[in-house]
Amino acid sequence: MAWIEGRAADEREALDAAARLLSESRLTVLTGAAADVETVRALLQLGEIVGGIVDHDGFEATSSMLSALREAGIMLGAPAEMRRRADRWLLVGADPFAGAENLRDWLFERDGPDLGRGAGRAREVLHLGGAGAFELAEHQIGDGLAQLRAGLNGRRHRDAPLSDARVEEAAAFLDGAAFGCVVFAPSAFDALDVELLCGLVEDLNRRTRFACLPVQGGAGGAFAAAQVATWRTGFPLRTAFGRGFPEFEPVLNAAARRVASGEATLALHVGGSASFEPDWSGRLPVIRIGGDGDWTNPPRIAFAPDGAPGGRVVWEPRFAGFVAEERGADGTAGILAALAERLGSVMA
């Protein structure tokens, strides 16, 4: 199914019209909620052909972790390994498993680790920023982490928001882990918080073993898209192709920013199940592919692709990697590829 300015149209006609818009647009932003590998590949390919900017609705939610990774580094643990091996867990933030409750239930399915030197111990959890002895307001968590890191390294710190006794208690708890795991949701923190947390984990590894387990929650699609973009372009999205080579700018290349400034002349939005209407949808012509529900500002051209036969490859949080699903291809990649093919002849 396809629509041109709200009128039901033949898919081929809509593809022609969309290709025309794309070929005439000076700066197209390509964004949305692409989450499976084929769709992301097709979006990147189209972005390169039209010299546009490729972004993702979930970029911000994953950016603090990607930023800390590239500026300080990180020690990561695979969830399945943490599930078997970690005896002491530090949960950071009010709800590190928000939007990922299944992951939490699966990680904590058993009473404790069955692998490695912690095997047979009961699992123990310290929740920094959650209800209980280490409850902190959201804005205090960074301070709490800083106190903890200073305390672990024998450096002084003030006695608030955590009391000195609490800091000592937490440090002893962490140091006593056979294998410890620090869980946090990158979307809840800024890059400096995550960098601090990564430093804390590195420090803990001087004496025992520790790893971070970032929970992407609803941003899993963006993280998957960032991975694909990275192998294809060298950069994790927010990348411009206008000059024929990829240019990464994590702030200026936000689709919303380019629309707000009036630079973008067209937007192409692909929607997964998590799709929502961008607040800029009324400000420029939009080609919308897939996604649920009607928008307040109807797109210039819309496609509701028929589900394609076959499977798709998505990021799986329990696996911290790509897995193949036997079904679920939604046809978006096919529409994007058809556009790329049309533009290949128009713009060659």
């Binding site: 000076r26 982490l145 800083a146 450096r155 928001p161 430093g199 411009a240 206008g242 000059r243 990464f248």
Partner: protein, 269 residues
């Protein structure tokens, strides 16, 4: 001889990469060649001549008449000479400059003076986030020179700087002086929350105090104002050409002990 002058014809329809308009890149080029240089960043090519009226002149002094928030990368890598912008600039003005002088008579965007190693950059208006700081993934911000913003600046001013001096006349956003390795950041106005997060060494002065100071900064007591009078004099005599501090006593906080902890943050006593 008068300055080589680029007069903006109209607000550009896209961000421009103006890094090519420095003396070292333009040396030996004639007017027609300069006018043909590509500066657009979208697939619709824009050349210098389409965006600017060019008046040839002394390469040692480059002048932009009219500015825009879309003027990116002005004076990038400048080694010598002077650049004057009569208007606003976009991101990365003076990035990686090692010498010379850039003056912006308007506001600046992100990453002004990013990783500059020498020279003097002055912004008459406000500046955006990451003043003097590194780009994504880079391990060092400013390593030398002087950066002066008369207005206010965004968050994380002076991020990861290793040497050099930044003076902000107005206020600073959150996390000023984040991850400083050394060097000096002076904010005459008020600093946002948690200045100096993860700083290892270096000096931050928040003349109007800070919204909130992190738990890993420790009070070292009120500091002798003599040092501030000396610093004020040094600024007046240096490239800044004006005193910065009023010599009032200040309270010294040492931190960030979550990192190395050898930095200092001064707030009013």
């Amino acid at each position: 001889m008068s300055a080589l002058t680029f007069t903006l014809r109209a607000e550009p329809d896209q961000r421009l990469d103006l890094s090519i308009l420095t003396p070292s890149h333009l040396a030996g080029l004639g007017e027609a060649e300069i006018a043909a240089l590509p500066i657009g960043t979208t697939r619709e090519l824009r050349t210098v001549g389409e965006v600017f009226a060019v008046a040839m002149g002394d390469l040692g002094e480059i002048r932009f008449v009219g500015g825009s928030e879309r003027f990116d990368r002005i004076g990038e890598g400048l080694a010598s000479g002077a650049i004057l912008v009569e208007g606003a600039v976009g991101s990365r003005v003076g990035r990686l400059m090692s010498g010379g002088r850039i003056e912006v008579r308007g506001h600046a965007g992100l990453h002004a003076g990013s990783a500059m190693s020498g020279g003097f950059l002055r912004i008459e208006g406000d500046a955006g986030d990451f003043l003097g700081g590194p780009l994504a993934g880079e391990m060092a911000g400013m390593t030398g020179g002087t950066l002066h913003v008369r207005g206010s600046v965004g968050k994380r001013a002076g991020d990861r700087i290793r040497r050099g001096t930044i003076v902000v006349g107005g206020n600073a956003g959150a996390d000023a002086g984040s991850r400083m390795v050394a060097g000096t950041l002076i904010v005459k106005g008020r600093a946002g929350a948690t200045p100096g997060r993860l700083m290892r060494r270096g000096t931050i002065v928040a003349g109007g105090g800070a919204e909130r100071v992190g738990a890993t900064f420790l009070d070292n007591g009120v500091h002798d104002p003599l040092i501030f009078r000396l610093m004020a004099r040094a600024f007046a005599a240096g490239p800044l050409g004006e005193p910065v501090l009023d010599g009032a006593p200040m309270r010294r906080l040492g931190g960030d002990t979550a990192a190395l902890g050898l930095g200092e943050l001064f707030v009013p006593a």
